[in-house]
């Protein structure tokens, strides 16, 4: 289990995160939501130990600051938003690097088998020997996701894993991630922009607003028109279908409504 307790982070005098507290459980997909600039990426970077923060982040009841750099990154994987890459490496080599903490100078059979397996599971084995810089943004994103999964991490942290994917691939990927999370008991933490996708796939949502946790819980409890108005400043309708899945229809920006009022 990942426990984030009173996490604070500031850039100079600007507070980005203030007393963030939540938990993410193994075998569950926890999705972080929030408007642009709400500090979602900053928070994931704190969990990835890229940012110096105040407060405590624990994994399996141990403060993550207590792990060595190598040990921590041996059990966790992090996918960042940046998809740029000009390295002259093949897709196979890039995915292999995901097992860096376990690689010997000579690549072992277990390593190649793991790479082969994840590429096949994700349906990108046909790219295996192509250069990473030759791929489209979406293909590259899938390769970096494969890289994050190839070491079978206990903690999987992904910042916008679907940002470059078309709608069909988003469904495929999130189905796959959810399945892997259940099967392997990953503690999976991700940010998403599509609220419908978050509602469909999250076991738990953590909503960040005004540098704080606004709400935490399953989508059915958290997705309310009021939350959408407070956090995203949109008028919306939320309904639950016969499968008990939550859907939302965003109607208009509340900013427009205020403008109209002020014009009137």
């Amino acid at each position: 289990m990942l426990q984030v307790q009173d996490l604070k982070f500031s850039y100079g005098k600007t507070t980005i995160l203030d007393n963030i507290t939540f938990t993410a459980n193994p075998g569950e997909m926890t999705v972080i939501l929030g408007a642009n600039g709400s500090g979602k990426t900053t928070m994931l970077q704190c969990i990835n130990r890229l940012n110096k923060y105040e407060g405590q982040v624990s994994f399996e009841n141990k403060d993550i600051a207590g792990f060595t750099h190598e040990d921590y990154h041996d059990m966790m994987s992090y996918l960042d938003q940046n998809l740029a890459c000009d390295a002259v490496l093949t897709v196979f080599e890039v995915v292999l690097l995901g097992r860096l903490t376990r690689l010997g100078f000579r690549v072992g059979e277990e390593d190649t088998a793991s790479v082969e397996n994840i590429l096949r599971l994700m349906g990108i084995d046909q790219f295996s020997q192509r250069g990473i810089s030759e791929l489209s943004g979406g293909q590259r994103q899938l390769v970096f996701i494969a890289q994050a999964l190839v070491k079978n991490p206990k903690l999987l942290v992904m910042d916008e894993p679907t940002s470059a994917l078309d709608l069909n691939k988003q469904f495929h990927l999130l189905d796959f991630l959810k399945q892997e999370t259940y099967k392997n008991d990953y503690t999976t933490l991700l940010t998403l922009h599509h609220l419908d996708m978050a509602a469909k796939y999250a076991d738990k949502l953590v909503i960040i607003n005004d540098n704080k946790v606004y709400a935490e819980g399953p989508p059915r409890e958290v997705f309310t028109p009021k939350m959408l108005e407070d956090v995203y400043r949109v008028d919306s309708e939320v309904y639950i279908d016969s499968n008990k899945d939550v859907h939302l229809i965003a109607l208009s920006s509340t900013d427009n409504k205020q403008e109209k009022r002020s014009i009137a």
């Binding site: 990154h73 940046n82 080599e93």
Partner: protein, 339 residues
């Protein structure tokens, strides 16, 4: 697919072995060229059975040709691999010890000794020029290191600090040349052209030893360096202590380059082009990229050294000019042929 990766790796190993064979060919080309008229057959006989050869041939082979040829391979390999690692840790294909002022520092050190008359001292002069060149070269690296330290060793700051060093040392160099007598000025100019002529059985083991130790440390860190090509954040997320590796590698590059240029002067082109050719042929898995860069550097410098001896009959043309003259067209052909 595992078989596919295994055959891909095997193919890279074979290409590396072929390049090594070409390097040995380039070494012998460098050995066989010169104005003494010694035939390749005599050379081989003298190499494998020095006792049977006459004194003159033995002196030509063992005291002149062999040190120059061995030094050519060593310096080329040192500059090639130093450029490769520099480009990797700074994430910049234009980075090399030459473009970052390490060689310019050595040039100033050597020029200072010559202007102050230290180069003409009977025994000491022979050691003083490389020693001071080494110290100034390390000083240039130290300055880049300290400036970069204040900014957490970000690649852009290191590159900009290095460019600052180039301008600073070039100005210092110009000042020394302005102050120098006509004879000293000529010596300085020849030193800055670069030359393998000062190779002997004292400086070869020094450079060879430094190269061996540094190269082994580079290879031990091959996977971490490969990960750094995917960007700092990704490498950190894979468990690489990026700042520490960048610092360690920079220190090692500095020592290796400073040792090489202290003995042979500034030879610029190899640290950039050796790695480029290696990257085009084998990619950036550093387990192959680093040795290939060393081999490409050694080939270029050995060929350039050989050509420098036959270009003008009875004279040795400055090697720094040759490396660019034969290296650049070759490099451009590769660049244009790349799919």
């Amino acid at each position: 697919m595992s078989n596919e990766y295994a055959s891909f790796t095997r193919k890279k190993t074979i290409i590396l072995i072929i390049a090594l064979i070409i390097m040995i060919g380039a070494f012998f080309f460098n050995m066989f060229t010169g104005s003494s008229g010694t035939t390749p057959a005599d050379m081989f006989a003298t190499i494998f059975n020095p006792g049977a050869a006459d004194i003159k041939t033995r002196a030509i082979v063992w005291d002149m040709r062999m040190p120059i040829s061995v030094m050519g391979v060593l310096v080329g390999a040192a500059l090639g691999v130093a450029g490769a690692v520099m480009q990797t840790i700074l994430n910049n294909p234009l980075a090399s010890p030459y473009t970052l002022g390490v060689s310019a520092g050595a040039g100033v050190g050597a020029s200072l000794v010559m202007v102050l008359g230290g180069g003409s001292l009977v025994i000491l002069g022979r050691f003083l020029v490389p020693a001071v060149a080494f110290i100034f070269s390390i000083a240039a690296c130290f300055a880049i290191y300290m400036i970069s330290k204040a900014r957490q060793f970000t690649p852009s700051v290191m590159v900009l600090a290095g460019i600052g060093m180039v301008f600073f040392f070039q100005a210092f160099q110009s000042f020394l040349q302005y102050m120098a007598s006509a004879e000293t000025l000529q010596n300085i100019t020849f030193w800055t052209f670069g030359s393998l002529q000062k190779a002997d059985w004292v400086n070869i083991p020094i450079l060879g030893g430094v190269f061996a130790v540094v190269f082994i440390i580079f290879m031990v860190n091959a996977w971490k360096l490969t990960a750094m090509r995917l960007g700092d954040n990704r490498a950190k997320s894979m468990g690489v202590n990026v700042d520490r590796i960048r610092k360690q590698m920079f220190i090692l590059i500095s020592i290796l380059t400073a040792t090489a240029v202290a003995f042979v002067g500034t030879i610029g082109f190899i640290g950039i082009v050796g790695p480029h050719i290696a990257r085009m042929i084998l990619g950036e898995d550093q387990r192959f990229f680093m040795p290939m860069s060393a081999v490409c550097g050694a080939i270029i410098l050995s060929l350039a050294s050989g050509v420098s001896k036959i270009l003008v009959s009875g004279a040795i043309f400055p090697i720094g000019i040759i490396t660019s003259l034969i290296g650049v067209p070759f490099y451009l052909i590769l660049l244009l042929k790349k799919k």
